[in-house]
Symmetry: C2
Subunit: 187 residues, 2 copies
């Protein structure tokens, strides 16, 4: 059992799920695109749902890693917080931008499907925590209550910018969200 094949499956499935949706992507399409046999796919994953969780994991891992790398190149201070939106602007401009993979997936699963929902909620909570730690580093005069409060607000703005820029196929949501973030940091 090789990690390479499994990773290849995850990457292929991720691209398909993200662009076309989870329910609209069948396992036959995944194996065809990945150029593998179905038995191979099912030797690595027990079910389509398990592939989905792996997809969510993969997207998040890549996202957090890329975001951190981008932010670490920005000047410390409020600019680094605002650079979250600069990062979003950058990925918005790539060809493969289809909005928020978590929201997309959440929309497709039934309300009582807990595995996928928990994965999504976990990722979002972790993002809020990441924003909070960014605030701690870059806005040292904030106390922990303020940090928690503002990290949630920035998270909401970021999420909105992602979803709405995809919906409208325009970047004004990113720009407006950034301005609101600025206002909050100045306040």
């Amino acid at each position: 059992m090789t990690t390479t094949t499994k990773q290849h499956i995850i990457e292929t499935a991720s691209a398909l799920f993200y662009q076309n949706g989870y329910n609209s992507t069948g396992v036959n399409e995944i194996i065809s695109e990945a150029n593998i046999a179905k038995a191979t796919l099912y030797s690595h994953f027990r079910s389509k749902e398990e592939i989905c969780v792996a997809y969510l994991h993969h997207m998040n891992t890549t996202f957090i890693s890329d975001l951190k790398a981008y932010l670490s190149r920005q000047k410390q201070g409020p600019q680094r917080i605002l650079a979250i939106f600069g990062f979003l602007q950058k990925i918005y401009n790539t060809e493969g931008f289809f909005g928020c993979w978590c929201l997309k997936t959440l929309a497709e699963i039934s309300p009582d499907e807990q595995n996928i929902r928990q994965e999504i909620q976990g990722q979002k909570t972790a993002l809020i925590v990441l924003i909070a730690s960014l605030l701690k580093e870059n806005m040292p005069n904030y106390n922990s209550t303020i940090t928690k409060d503002i990290s949630r607000k920035i998270y909401l703005l970021y999420e909105s910018a992602v979803a709405e820029s995809y919906l409208h196929q325009k970047d004004w949501p990113i720009k407006e969200a950034k301005k609101m973030c600025q206002l909050i940091l100045e306040h």
Copy 2:
């Protein structure tokens, strides 16, 4: 051809699409739930896609009507703008709250499906216009540039509050979005 049967189909399909998703709801389930024959359904709609557009229309019509009714009962001024979030808090507390039907549907369709996408974009643009007209009535010292700017910001906050309250199954996104709206109106 009766409007009553068609409306009944739309309402049934709407409930199913909104809760379980468009792709996860089959036409067989709609006819079963609506207690009609399949031929009846296809005598009113040419395709499932057409039912989807009718669903989006229906949800939006109900939403705008309810929102306006709610807002008209609020005191004029900034409170009336902020009451958008009060309205959201109210529907969040109903049993049938499953987030934003437009975002949900957008997540399920393929990126090149234009009919549904255009309907969704149209609804969102209309919501921004509605918020702008609310600002005009209730914040008379705003000029048209400011009004346009702030309506977009409020729209983003509202959208985020809807999607994230559903995602997290908590109401803090609504409360935080309202606070940001307040900050923007005071600024």
